[in-house]
Symmetry: C3
Subunit: 352 residues, 3 copies
């Protein structure tokens, strides 16, 4: 019989359950509206009100939310993580066909493991190495001397440049470019002379890289992404950047050359970082922040102005252009009044 | 004889004309300098001064601008729209060759309409469907069970992921990636565990998507672009975003997961939106705005600081870091002076 | 014997040297830690302290830094430029194989020079021209009537649209899209009607374009990049933009349609520009600046708020929403006090 019982799923997750353990589950679904025969989850408290309205057969949630749930429940300390494991259980198996597609072009000096799959129109250049159980989808390029570690998947249209190395179980989505030249030029009068980019890119295990993201090769040393780094779509990583293990970066961010980012950082979408910065471990940066200096301590950092009504924004922006003068006028007022000033405010200058 | 007379063009547009109806028009051109034998247009009043200097044989413009025009004119209520139709008339016909190029790889279970064109090195996977008069340019991938609606065009190097559906008359430019995995991970200690992305992308009719734009598949439900949506280049659309009909988004914008955008919105370039927001119909957002909360009413919205001289910007930015303190100092001054305060200003707090 | 002596390198660069001219150099390296037998450079004074710790066999630096150097040195007025030339000397030669790969699809009306290399799975359409010593890496498309100038290199997966022309010695990195349609639509009620994009892209000599950057074709006239322009990764150039010679733009910037940028400009990463602007020669724009109006004079320009602690940012941002009101309250205080006002401050309005 298809699917699993609730009790079987609880056993799989190593968690408890509430309600009929024989409830049959054949897939996953959203909390609202939900689908009969499927299991959903509640992680964000904002959606707790939907518990009473779901048509799901069961819900993964934490102990505290259990009393509000009208259907059978799996009780997990981290419902999102438990749900990820359930979804994996029900995900359709990846269709793989071992071997090299007849339209692929594989150099005779490349080493391709027999269990690897090289898709249609792929190119594997001289000296490249493709390890066991690797899947190259259609239109991938693995340039000379690059190395793809075991069980990694290049979904489609991925470019891996010369000498790049990828660890185990990495997933690279369509349009990813790893190991293109960094942006290095030396001035010569009004012209710019290219500085040859000679480094590579080293990528650890369990790294995932989103569609159309680019990671440049180093100028002399390598660009490095440590184990477990997750990059969203359309991110740009400059030459010689080093990203610590388990750091995640959301879409459309750009990291300039030689910046070093710590472990377990969470960087929002559209963030820009200058080059040659140091970002500590466990730093959180909200979306669209402009990072112009190093951040030496863990914490939450931000910049930018949130959306506002256009007319109010126009008036405030016009005032911002004179903010320094406005501060001077306040200082002038403070000095000219007879009441005693707040000494703390008085000492505060623009460079404090 | 090549081209059309001015009178024939007026008939085609269903509009009036001024000047010699026998004026022969063989193409379109810019207003300045313009080209003999060609027709241009005036839509932006800023360019009205160029009317006296154009070498165009005729100009499409509205009634009010007609007296300033020294050459024959077509009189249209919406000159830009009328010009679009004229340009279409003179655009070179798209070169198409029906059938499947011998280098394409088409699975035997895919259904490809005989009138469709499958270009060189394309890949059409199992169960995919390519409808009548579709054109796949070179290097396109249509993954398993995806569906491309009638008369749609994938210009080149487009990736269409598993289960994605495209309506009629869509145009997707080179490097577009539809249906890559969304960015979904659950925390497990310091590691991140992938949440399988199981939804698809549903795209309506008459949708156009610019070069290197990415639209992620949904996590559970689908990501949706309704009819007539136009996306410029290098836009990122996160999983489960829903974009209403006839909304346009300019280049380099990023929309985070599960945000719902209304109909007929106009979103500028470089805009970033948080996830899980609601944007009403007919919202206009200016370029580089940081949208951190939902916008429940039609209107024009903005954020960001416009360009300024670097030194002035530095001084003002330094003051911004102390803006809260500055406001406190003003409040202190107000309290310590004897003159009556403006009650409105006094009530206005930071959270108003 | 491999490599060069220090004296030979000095002769090659036309510069002087300090220390043993017989020192043998076999490659280039970073300043720290440096590698025995290799030459490094010092251009950024911030790294001067590393001179005493390098293991490099020699360092390129300017006269003033020479006394601090403990190893042999090459003395150059522009050490970065001199180093670029040395690195070029030691860079591995580009592997090229003349001729057309058997998997490439080349139209019989295309003209391909016998010294050109057309890589695997490339497509060269009708009427296209590929000049001498051009290298097309794997998966490139040269659409009909496009022209690739002598010694240019398309690294891989580059799309060159119809009628696009490229000068000599250009380098285009993977995922570049040149000549996709610009974003042009005319409003028709709630719908948008496409304005046919009929122009091309003209690119000069010695232009380099980074991975996944997009340059749109003109609407009527051409989009133009003059000689020596250098574009980093993931940049978007709208239709009819014109970029002057030797201008460089860092990653993730977006230039809207019809903007004209002067010569020798330096534009930072993540910059956004409105359309139809004029930017003078020799303008420098710092990263993430929002360019909303023309810049008519050379100089340095900026906008945006630098990163801050999240709580302080929240407080300041809340005050920004009322900045106009705050300025009004300061004005009120100034008017109500008896001390004479600073006349300059008093005259300063929001539109000054």
């Amino acid at each position: 019989m298809a699917g699993y019982t609730l009790a079987e799923l609880a056993l799989h997750l190593g968690c408890g359950f509430v309600g009929d353990g024989e409830t049959r589950i054949v897939g996953v679904c959203t909390l609202f509206p939900g689908l009969p025969g499927r299991v959903s989850f509640l992680a964000n408290p904002a959606y707790r009100r939907l518990l009473g309205r779901t048509e799901a057969a069961a819900v993964v949630l934490n102990e505290a939310d259990s009393p509000s749930c009208l259907v059978p429940a799996l009780i997990a300390a981290n419902p999102h993580l438990a749900f990820a494991r359930l979804a994996e259980l029900f995900a359709p198996p990846r269709r793989t066909e071992q071997g090299i597609h007849p339209t692929a072009v594989v150099d005779q000096t490349a080493r391709v493991h027999p269990s690897a799959q090289i898709g249609p129109h792929c190119i594997v250049e001289a000296g490249a190495e493709v390890a066991e159980a690797v899947v190259l989808g259609p239109h991938c390029v693995v340039a000379e001397s690059a190395r793809i570690g075991p069980h990694s998947q290049l979904v489609a249209k991925v470019y891996i440049g010369p000498g790049v190395s990828l660890g185990s179980r990495c997933v690279l989505h369509p349009g990813v470019v790893i190991g293109a030249d960094g942006f290095g030029f030396a001035r010569d009068g009004e012209r710019w002379v290219k500085v040859p980019q000679l480094g590579a890119v080293r990528i650890g295990d369990d790294v995932e890289i989103g569609a159309n993201t680019t990671v440049d090769r180093g100028a002399l040393d390598d660009t490095v992404l440590e184990d477990g780094v997750k990059l969203d779509n359309q991110i740009q990583i400059g030459h010689n950047v080093h990203i610590g293990a388990h750091t995640v970066i959301a879409a459309c961010s750009g990291i300039s050359g030689s910046t070093v980012i710590g472990r377990r950082c969470m960087i929002g979408g559209g963030v820009g970082m200058n080059g040659h910065l140091q970002i500590a471990d466990d730093v959180v940066i909200t979306g669209m922040t402009m990072v112009t200096h190093s951040l030496h301590a863990a914490g939450v950092y931000s910049s930018g102005l949130p959306v506002d009504d256009n007319r109010r924004w126009q008036r405030n922006v016009a005032r911002f252009r004179h903010l320094d003068a406005l501060a001077g006028r306040v200082r002038h007022l403070e000095r000219s009044q007879t009441a005693p000033m707040d000494p703390e405010a008085a000492e505060e200058g623009p460079d404090a």
